[in-house]
Symmetry: C2
Subunit: 429 residues, 2 copies
């Protein structure tokens, strides 16, 4: 039985999950894989802090070099999160000739080229299944299972916190604030949930997935980003009248050699397979030129699902060590990827205008849309309200974002329009 | 650029798909993987037969040795299907030191131990992603991505033909015969569909999946097998009144060290994720001790999705060749697997009794059920019909199959019961 030494950076929620998995399924794993994974050192901030995981005191250290430079450590497993010092440690581990497993989406999305390059120079494996989708094997599916395909489309729900909040708003009619509070109380949202709610976390994950799909680094700051803050329950109710529900989607599409990458709340048909992704789950809808449509779904976060993915990576890294093989590079595209600016993206739209209740309003609004070549697919205008503006809801046919922005700027300046128009995109078929 | 030689056995639907994929995505694949896959020889029955795939005449052969023994061939890819001569060729290829890729579920399910053993002795890779689920990466997910987990449950729709027929019966109210004819006309069912309809094809696939999940060969003839022949549209209508739809499921469950494996039509709640698997799609619902629930879905058959899986395997085999690594064994369990006999399986049930229209019938039937300890969850008894027997539909609480069989044998002998009782199992939560 070959033994492979593992060094952990971090022993928080995920680190404890990994420790627990390796302990509980130890013999089973060794029998199954012919490899025994042994944790030799763990970097922690405070070795004396009481912990649930029963880890021997002597393998804890506060000195990163005891992990990164230890001869006993073959694989460095980074579970700290955040940019620094994670980035420095990952690069140091690769320089020291260690294989690396990480669950850190932020550092890969922000410093991908540097880290990918370091792995390639060192000819060491860099594994990050747990960085996206928790236990769902989306990274391996893109890197290996669908590797013979050109990926035409990727449409995914990658943030369980946002999905939980939107599910609760939609199912129970909660306000955004109520749903957020509930998510925090139940442990589905961080105390500081900004990274999730702003769409930033989804952007990080999409950057990684698009990089894998297209073989060229997709920088996070080239991805259009719109989160769920300010989503109004009213729009969920109108959407349902049209047969749609609202999801925060991460979308990548290739068409005629150009790739669009964007994260925004999106209306999807209620019978779409992504509509069935509820609560804290993640779902990934892929389309390849040969495989057709493939869908993957599972828990996108949490100690145990994430540990499942981390340990699968540790086993892959162990196989690489035992074989002495050279890992497959992540960036394979020779020519730079052409990214489509968001202004040129074509989509169908949902608009909710807030107008005064006066004859001719509908004609004024639709007139402006018509001048910009935006054609209307359907309209709901609700009867007169007691007080306040009247909502006029429209679904459009396909339109380009540039024209939409111009038209809405004009409409929002109309005297009859009293509040900024609410805009949602509709999933393209 | 390293070149790896591939020999194909068979150039039918899937073989042509593989040829087409390697031709169309040739440069893209080489750039992405650093390997060029080149087909060097193809075994066919008739080299002069006109074909859609534009294959040079000189690489076609009718002599299997020209593929199996060729020094130019590193990977033998078997796409003939059936038991013989596929089995003989697979064993010969491994003996010749070739790595093997196969899409052949039947030969693996019937002769798994012999073939797995031959691969292990030869220290060669044996890849079979395409044997189950077409382009859906279920094999790799079980072998690698979820390898850190104990698989508690696998519930899957693995036969697109049966799923298409049941979907059409349910959605359009077609009879079994009408739906089958339509499936044949649209190319979703073979001219001889017996292997699909009998449940045998699903049994083969379940044998492979359960073998991977539990690391011990699960013989096809130990799997309970019940197909969809004789499914009555009437039962689909009643099922819907209870909120269920009917799917042919392949099920494996581990409980207290014992594993049950079975294929049968099963009622599942209409909001279950497997209920959304329509038409010719396949769906795989997995539950692991760490990862929780994972679901995979995609096209389970067809030239292009299957080619996607075959070429992914070819790339894995090529990586193995380039690294000189020893492949991970498929059978890892030391002690034999304990399989639960179907008679001991516990499930909820749907019964449709056909009884004469007379007072006291319900009491007689429920009396027999009660004597066997089977308790009733709900009943629909439809009003009096003009002529013929009255259907009485019951859903039970959990019951063991042995008691169910005994009770139904007794009930079907009752004077008031005029036709054999229809029985369907309900998916356990």
């Amino acid at each position: 039985m070959r033994e492979v030494g593992v060094g952990l950076l971090g022993l928080g929620v995920v680190g404890s999950g990994v420790w627990e998995l390796l302990a509980r399924n130890r013999d089973f794993l060794a029998r199954k894989t012919g490899v025994r994974l042994t944790v030799r050192k763990i970097l922690v901030r405070d070795p004396d802090k009481p912990r649930r995981a029963r880890v021997p005191r002597e393998i804890l250290t506060t000195d990163p070099r005891e992990v990164l430079e230890s001869r006993e450590v073959d694989i460095v497993c980074e579970l700290m999160g955040g940019i620094e010092p994670a980035r420095t440690y990952l690069l140091a581990a690769l320089r020291q000739g260690k294989h690396v497993v990480t669950a850190n989406k932020a550092v890969l999305a922000e410093h991908g080229p540097e880290i990918f390059q370091a792995a390639e120079s060192a000819e060491k494996g860099l594994f990050f299944e747990a960085a996206v989708g928790g236990g769902v094997p989306i990274v391996k599916t893109l890197r290996e299972s669908l590797s013979a395909n050109r990926i035409r489309r990727l449409t995914a729900i990658v943030n369980g916190t946002c999905n939980y909040i939107l599910s609760r708003m939609s199912e129970e009619g909660l306000s955004f604030e109520q749903a957020l509070r509930e998510a925090q109380e139940r442990g589905f949202a961080e105390a500081d949930p900004r990274l999730d709610l702003s769409g930033r976390d989804s952007v990080h994950k999409l950057a990684i997935l698009a990089t894998l799909a297209y073989g060229s680094f997709v920088p996070a700051d080239r991805i259009y980003e719109e989160g769920i803050i300010g989503v109004d329950p009213q729009d969920l109710i109108f959407a349902r009248e049209f047969g749609y529900c609202l999801k925060l989607l991460a979308i990548a599409r290739e068409e005629e050699g150009r790739v669009e990458v964007r994260v925004h709340p999106t209306l999807i048909p209620e019978d779409h397979v992504l509509a069935s992704v509820r609560g804290a789950y993640n779902g990934f809808f892929l389309e390849g030129d040969f495989v057709g449509q493939v869908f993957l779904y599972g828990l996108g976060a949490g100690a145990e699902p994430t540990a499942s993915a981390v340990v699968a990576d540790l086993l892959d890294a162990a196989r690489l060590i035992l074989s002495g093989a050279r890992p497959t590079p992540i960036l394979f595209r020779e020519s730079p990827l052409s990214l489509k600016p968001q202004e040129e993206v074509v989509s169908r739209y949902y608009f909710r205008f807030s107008a005064v209740d006066r004859p001719g309003v509908l004609s004024q609004i639709s007139g402006v849309l018509g001048q910009h070549g935006i054609s209307i697919a359907s309209v709901i205008q609700k009867g007169r309200t007691e007080h306040g503006p009247v909502p006029i809801v429209m679904l459009t046919h396909e339109a380009r974002e540039r024209e939409v922005r111009q038209a809405l700027a004009e409409i929002d300046r109309l005297e009859v329009v009293v509040l900024p128009t609410k805009v949602l995109r509709i999933l393209e078929e």
